[in-house]
């Protein structure tokens, strides 16, 4: 039947979609789902911001996303990838609340890639809740009103006399009640209410939104091993592959001999993969694939390949030499990307000048689940099962690669075992598809070993920041010169791109909020010699590290308390016009709603200082450090207590983080993201480093690319959510903004504890 809110049979199909119901997508597309017209009021031609500005836009028709079965089970299609941020749970909370459904009767299904149907699906930039909260409320409210109208119609009473309540519609006057399941089929045939006819719940009546302690919808599957991640896809008859990729970016296979690889029992085929010339974007690097009956045989076979590489133009990439080159570049003027006042004159007239240079190395995201994809590609149909943050991107790629219409490319997003930006780049899905095609349509699972993940990644950039300030007699900076030098993410798309993109500069460099009269920010060029990619919080990492360390250095130079000094530099509360600081990005958001509000940064600084007991007396060898940073339109401040013993061993007894992301939808997941951001921030500050020699990544696995373990994690992490401003206020991001202030807060704490200033990450043995 053509019900907008749909029958059980159809929903079972969706449930099984991730394990391939060939043709189901088309069946669905032929139904009424695609007839949805959307319920937002049409907008005239204004500049678009936020979700509206993203590919595929924003959809909020309940018929696309919701189904209610005869037994009342609500099915919600989640079209964003779940990678640990909790989107599946948090979205279900919002819809269930506005729908007046019981959350434990809501089943969350994962939508395949299809932006024409679902709207934008690119799960990055800490946007999923920020962009969809109001749309999810509309979806829930519209469906609730359709159910209420149906019940009122049956009872022949005015719709104003009935209301949905806990999975039923109730007519209080007569005491009648009827379950959602009984109403759903007929309710689905009713028109979807117009946007201005929607009635939302009052926040005081929310049962899930803003409430703590809601259980994760995937808890049982995760704790019993039933959760299906990208690496867990099992498709009938599939083979298993690994690839020997060029160890140097832009390298090629000169010659290879597969004889011995083919002798390994279980090896089925050896397939060369064409290299993509630099810049390779999201396309495969090329190399030689070994396909076998199981992963182990493929790995064993690969070890027997005899390959001679032509390393190409990046064969000389060497991290020590490159760092020296970045430092040299930072001593020369660069492209001016923000200028206020007259920095040169103010520097010349300063009572005192302070300068410092900071270094952050390459980092690998290293999600615990390495990139993996399974594909089945025949002449007519391409199906992929994988853990990608951006399923539509790979869908478009594969459609082009195989000359198939978009609707014949099905990308099923499975759970991501962590993403952190690595899985925004779906090169691995293309590789799997190429290999399946090479086996005439036999499904192939392509796994990155951990070594592959580190050797052939899309790394966080490597950066030098040189800062110089001119202080007046009171120790206040009158001039601020910041040179940021780092290879850009744009280099994977644009040949020889050497300047930062507007988005990279707007992640903490140009949007530096301190009230300093003369500011110049420059961006000297930096060539890329490896694939540069997004890493959780991206350019905010080096920018926050440099700026928040430097402010503490200035405080020390001025003989001031770092927290008081930071607040003084922040200046009077004000909203910063992005144009006034040459911020051309603002995270893609509307300046009217999202301009930098310094009062909110002050708020988190004051809160975290109070909660952490700033100024309390500490044992010998302990110190407190503070740092604050806005990113992804949320505000975060961190106080770290560091302890350094006589041997230079660092421990972290306590971290406090205060956070203002506007309204908090799922407090438990916000706290979890902050806890995780603190630990990932400590990990990159203390031990994280990827380096190159002879064009190759030096590190290969977790022994030489360590990430923080439980015994290196802070003994205590306290998260403090700043009281929300109401649910109609603009939401900020959550997944990333907790991370940037962590490294500078830690290094500031180490300075307080020891007097030693860390300017180069990772800290590793610098305290010994």
């Amino acid at each position: 039947m053509n019900a907008p809110i749909v029958n059980t049979g159809l929903m079972n199909e969706i449930a099984n979609l991730s394990l391939s119901r060939r043709g189901f997508l088309r069946g669905l597309a032929a139904g009424s789902f695609v007839l949805a017209t959307g319920i937002r009021p049409a907008r005239a031609q204004e500049t678009k911001y936020g979700a509206e500005a993203m590919s595929g836009g924003l959809k909020d028709d309940p018929r696309i996303f919701l189904a209610i079965a005869d037994d009342g089970t609500v099915s919600l299609l989640c079209h964003r990838a779940e990678m640990g941020q909790g989107v599946r749970t948090s979205w279900a909370m919002v819809v269930a609340d506005e729908l007046e459904a019981e959350l434990d009767r809501v089943r969350v299904l994962q939508a395949p890639g299809d932006e024409a149907r679902f709207g934008n699906q690119n799960t990055d930039g800490s946007r999923s809740m920020r962009h969809h909260f109001q749309a999810l409320r509309r979806i829930g409210a519209a469906a609730r009103q359709m159910l209420e109208q149906e019940a009122a119609g049956r009872w022949k009473v005015p719709v104003a006399e009935v209301r949905a309540e806990r999975h039923e519609v109730v007519h209080a006057a007569s005491g009648r009640r009827i379950g959602f399941g009984e109403l759903a089929r007929a309710a689905a045939l009713r028109p979807v209410p117009a946007a201005d006819a929607l009635v939302f719940k009052r926040p005081a009546d929310f049962r899930y939104i803003g409430r703590d302690g809601v259980a994760l919808v995937d808890n049982l599957d995760i704790t019993t091993g039933k959760a299906v991640y990208g690496i867990d896809a099992r498709i009938e008859g599939m083979a298993y592959a690994v690839i020997a990729r060029p160890p140097v970016y832009g390298g090629k296979v000169k010659r290879f001999d597969a004889t011995r690889a083919l002798q390994v029992p279980g090896v089925v085929k050896v397939v060369p993969i064409e290299e993509t010339p630099i810049p390779s974007a999201f396309q495969p690097l090329g190399g030689v694939a070994v396909i076998a009956d199981n992963t182990y045989a493929a790995i064993k076979g690969r070890a027997q390949l005899d390959i001679e590489w032509d390393d190409g133009p990046n064969a000389g990439y060497d991290s020590a030499a490159y760092r020296a080159a970045l430092e040299a570049a930072s001593r020369q003027p660069g492209k001016v990307v923000r200028s206020n006042g007259d920095v040169d004159t103010a520097l010349a007239g300063a009572a005192r000048r302070v300068e410092a240079s900071y270094y952050v190395p390459h980092l690998a995201q290293a999600p615990m689940e390495p990139p993996t994809a399974t594909a089945r590609v025949t002449a007519e149909l391409c199906e992929v099962w994988c853990s990608v943050q951006n399923p539509e991107a790979i869908r478009a790629d594969l459609s082009k690669r195989f000359g198939l219409p978009l609707e014949n490319v099905i990308v099923n997003t499975l759970l991501l075992g962590g993403g952190f930006g690595r899985k925004s780049k779906p090169d691995f899905a293309s590789e799997a598809a190429i290999l399946s095609r090479a086996l005439d349509g036999r499904p192939v699972k392509l796994t990155f070993t951990r070594e592959d993940d580190l050797h052939n990644g899309y790394l966080h950039t490597v950066s030098v920041a040189r800062l110089e300030a001119g202080l007046d007699a009171e120790g206040r900076p009158q001039a601020w010169l910041h040179r940021t030098v780092a290879p850009t993410i744009q280099s994977i798309f644009v040949p020889d791109a050497q300047q930062a993109g507007a988005f990279e500069l707007a992640m903490g460099a140009v949007d530096m909020p301190l009230a300093i009269p003369n500011v110049r920010i420059e961006n000297p060029p930096a060539p890329a010699h490896t694939r540069i990619g997004w890493f959780r919080s991206v350019s905010n990492i080096p920018h926050a590290f440099a700026i928040q360390s430097f402010v503490a250095e200035l405080a020390a130079a001025a003989g001031r308390d770092p927290k008081d000094y930071l607040l003084q530099l922040l200046g009077p509360d004000r909203v910063i016009d992005p144009a006034s600081v040459s911020d051309q990005w603002l995270y893609g958001e509307d300046p009217k709603r999202y301009a930098y509000d310094t009062a909110r940064l002050r708020g988190v600084i004051e809160r975290v200082a109070a909660e952490a007991g700033w100024g309390r007396s500490l044992p010998q060898g302990h110190g407190l450090g503070i740092a604050a940073h806005r990113s992804f339109v949320s505000y975060a401040a961190v106080v770290v207590e560091a302890a350094v013993d006589d041997e230079g061993r660092l421990t972290i007894p306590r971290v406090d983080i205060a956070f203002d992301c506007g309204a908090v939808i799922n407090p438990d997941r916000v706290r979890a993201q902050l806890e995780g951001a603190v630990i990932q921030g400590i990990s990159l500050a203390t031990v994280g480093e990827i380096s190159f020699k002879a064009g190759r990544v030096v590190q290969s696995n977790f022994h030489d690319y360590p990430v923080t373990r439980i015994d290196g994690a802070p003994k205590q992490i306290h998260t403090h959510l700043v009281t929300p401003t109401g649910f109609d206020a603009p939401l900020g991001g959550v997944g990333e903004p907790g991370l940037p202030p962590v490294a500078p807060a830690l290094c500031n704490a180490i300075f307080a504890a020891t007097g030693k200033r860390i300017r180069s990450l990772p800290i590793r043995d610098q305290l010994a």
Binding site: L220, V228, K300, M368, E675, N701, T708, R709, I710, A713
Partner: protein, 152 residues
């Protein structure tokens, strides 16, 4: 050919005896709850119990498992009601969840041997299990909670 028990059922591996148990479980037996993270014993995502003791499945060749009894996450409890699994759910420990099957197996082994571990004992027992999402504070709390639950 080697014969061993997995979650109470008998298995026989007649392929490459060097194949790590990890790939046998995942690719041949279809038990994908045991995860790959490093292949070198560095991350603990592949943790299983061998005769009740925690072990890294990526380091165990199937050829050496004759007569052993393996428990994977799928066999830790019939219905997911092991106290460690329950505590993990009560505290919403998981973020992405990928490392958590290994964490749960390691924690279950810890509590079987040390029913009321100190914080230091928890960190020591769990330090071989990486979590890139940073769920360590909740892992500690969940182990303490499961220990309390087990004691009552």
């Amino acid at each position: 050919m080697t014969k061993f028990i997995v979650n109470g059922s008998s298995h026989q591996a007649d392929g490459d005896p060097e194949m790590p148990l990890l790939w046998y479980l995942r690719d041949l037996a279809g038990l994908t709850g045991t995860k790959y993270g490093c292949g070198l014993g560095l991350c603990g995502t592949c943790t299983v119990l061998v005769d009740g003791r925690p072990a890294r499945a990526c380091l165990l060749a199937v050829g050496e498992l004759e007569g052993r009894a393996i428990t994977t996450i799928e066999g830790l409890s019939a219905d997911g009601m092991h106290p460690v699994q329950e505590a993990w759910r009560q505290l919403n420990v998981a973020q992405c969840g990928y490392c958590q099957t290994g964490q749960i197996m390691q924690a279950a082994a810890l509590l079987a041997k040390t029913p009321d571990p100190s914080d230091t004992e928890i960190d020591a027992a769990m330090s071989g299990n990486l979590c890139r999402c940073g769920t360590y504070p909740r892992i500690r709390a969940a182990i303490r909670q499961a220990a309390k639950g087990g004691a009552k």
